[in-house]
Amino acid sequence: MTFDLHFWREPGLGPVTNKEAIDIFSGRPHIESDDDDLTVGGFVYYNPDTEVYFRFELDKASSGAGERPDESGRLVVSAGTTDLADSGLSFRMNLCRPSYFADEAFPVVVEIATGLGLRVEDVSTSTRSAAIAPDAGELARAWRERNDATIAILRKKGEAGSDAAGPMRFEPRATLDAFWRYMSQRRAIQRGVAGELYAPTVFLLREKGRERSVGDVAPIARRTVVWNAPGPLLLPEVDLVHIVGPGDAEDRIVPRAIVEELLGDRLEAVADTAAPLRRYDGRDRASIEEKLAALALGNAADAYYECEPDSFIDTPAAPAA
């Protein structure tokens, strides 16, 4: 259930050393060492904003050129790579994940591989092809292909009781990509354009009791931000706004259009951001407060539950035969 890559090096360079690995992984955002496994040096990437995670492993017991241990510990020679040396470094990322995992992961993989002078082999393919120069687009294509195939297999097995690719895990790719576009940039937005505003988290909420049947591809996860009304607001591309306040007013969750209408032209586009973004600077506070007091729409917060972004898949089910 994982997508595995192995890295190779020109024979003269030898395996990646621990120091080389620490040098290249240190200081990179979201990467931590994970040396709990005492025989393998692990470097885990985990982005809490997007929930993307993957892992590099450095086999400290890596052997000579063209050879590496398989899962049972035997040494195998990888056809087509005999002119390259085993770097000892491998990469692993889960399958059955949203497509944006590839968009976030493989640029990092390419940076690491390029920095260490490595070539990359997709070890999951049935015929071991020659290691290639790292290419984020090609790797993303291979991961998505495998992801789709795995999901298709799991869906077939779904009848046996597995919900690993069940209908409730599906959300349209457009929804998840839009979530990722903003959340992957959120910290940069916070540090830049929105230096004096809070760049809110986008939550993926689902209405309690809402089910999805097989073949239903309409979005049911609602991208939601919280607005501490009538204070300033940074508004990304979302479906719902959770209004807190003013004062002791009950929380309510309303469609974004309600907030757009309420704020009118006070909502201004923010330039130079990768994700669509608008801001309200908090002016005409009294007027906004009055409109909020008259607002009778909205659902209670406890009508929804939060979904972890990485729990979704965005590969649509094949149409029934």
Binding site: T2, D36, T39, G161, S162, Q190, P200, P232, V244, G245
Partner: protein, 307 residues
């Protein structure tokens, strides 16, 4: 396995989001964790095998860890039992000197043995619940008994790590702790020390360089504390969560106040999506307001007076 799942107990959040809550050791006065190995994400994925009957456990969604616990309670139990026996023997006058000698020897052995006795557990955690499965032995067979299809993980590595955890002095930093690679240079900002007052209110003293860092610290502390409360790992923490911010480090302004209020509102909203029974009271203040000296400056320690 099913029965053990029914008897699950509350726990903390997944390790990636886990917050350290010093002073709230759930093992206080009971067994003590002396070593721990955590496995996350991709490794867990490898435990999950497509098509096997084990699918129903869907291990990808669980946090898996090993805990090695010292059976400290055994010593007290043994000594108490021996004491009762000795007393009884003395009362009835049966070879009291012999019983006393044997009893004292047994007591000594029990103390020594209990200090050495360490029992490994496999711990599965999910959605605030923890299942602790005693591992019968530190052999590979023991692991295989628990999960039939473990062939895809490196059992030898797991066993080595567990044995290393047993052998490691608790005071010694773990390999990961001693690793030079750190996520942030100023890690303390992300794991500040909370203070808990008698009413169960939690206070975090934050000293952050800028607003983005402050937002991140607040979010992590808030979520970590709420999860710890919900998981029962932070007994006594029942009151509001208060943040004191070193205003000298993070300049305060009307815009900053509004932005912090937005961050706090989001924290509280998150706890409402995530479950009931969570304290929602949050306050933000500067050290000067807390220490009350009116000098407009942070205290010398930079953290404000939060006692």
């Amino acid at each position: 396995m099913t029965e053990q799942m029914v008897s699950s107990e509350p726990t903390a959040p997944p390790p990636a989001r886990r917050q350290t809550v010093p002073g709230a050791d759930p093992n206080e006065g009971a067994d003590r964790t002396v070593g721990q190995l955590r496995l996350r994400g991709p490794i867990l994925e490898r435990l999950w095998t497509d098509g096997s009957p084990r699918d129903r456990y869907d291990l990808r969604e669980w946090e898996l860890s090993f805990e090695i616990r010292r059976r400290r309670g055994l010593a007290f139990l043994s000594s108490a039992l021996i004491g009762v026996l000795l007393s009884g023997a003395y009362q009835i006058g049966v070879m009291w000197a012999w019983v006393l000698a044997v009893g004292l020897s047994s007591l000594l052995i029990a103390f020594v043995a209990s200090g050495l006795a360490r029992r490994p557990y496999l711990v599965l955690a999910r959605d605030g619940y923890r299942i602790r499965l005693p591992i019968p032995s530190l052999t590979l067979e023991g692991f295989r008994d628990l999960f039939l299809d473990l062939s895809r993980i490196r059992l030898e590595a797991l066993a080595a790590a567990v044995v290393a955890a047993v052998d490691r002095d608790p005071a010694e930093p773990s390999p990961s702790e001693s690793q030079s690679l750190r996520r942030h240079e100023d890690d303390d900002f992300y794991h500040p020390q909370p203070l808990v007052d008698d009413a169960g209110a939690v206070t975090y003293a934050l000293s952050c360089r800028d607003l983005p860092q402050l937002f991140e610290a607040i979010s992590l502390c808030y979520r970590g504390t709420v999860r710890a409360m919900r998981g029962g790992e932070a007994p006594g923490m029942t009151g509001p969560i208060r943040f004191t911010v070193n205003a000298a480090a993070t300049p305060r302004s009307d815009a900053a106040d509004a932005a912090v209020a937005a961050c706090l509102a989001e924290c509280v909203a998150w706890s409402r999506y995530s479950g009931d029974g969570v304290p929602a009271g949050v306050d933000w203040t500067t050290p000067d307001e807390v220490d009350g000296d009116g000098d407009g400056e942070a205290d010398a320690d930079g953290a404000g007076a939060t006692a």
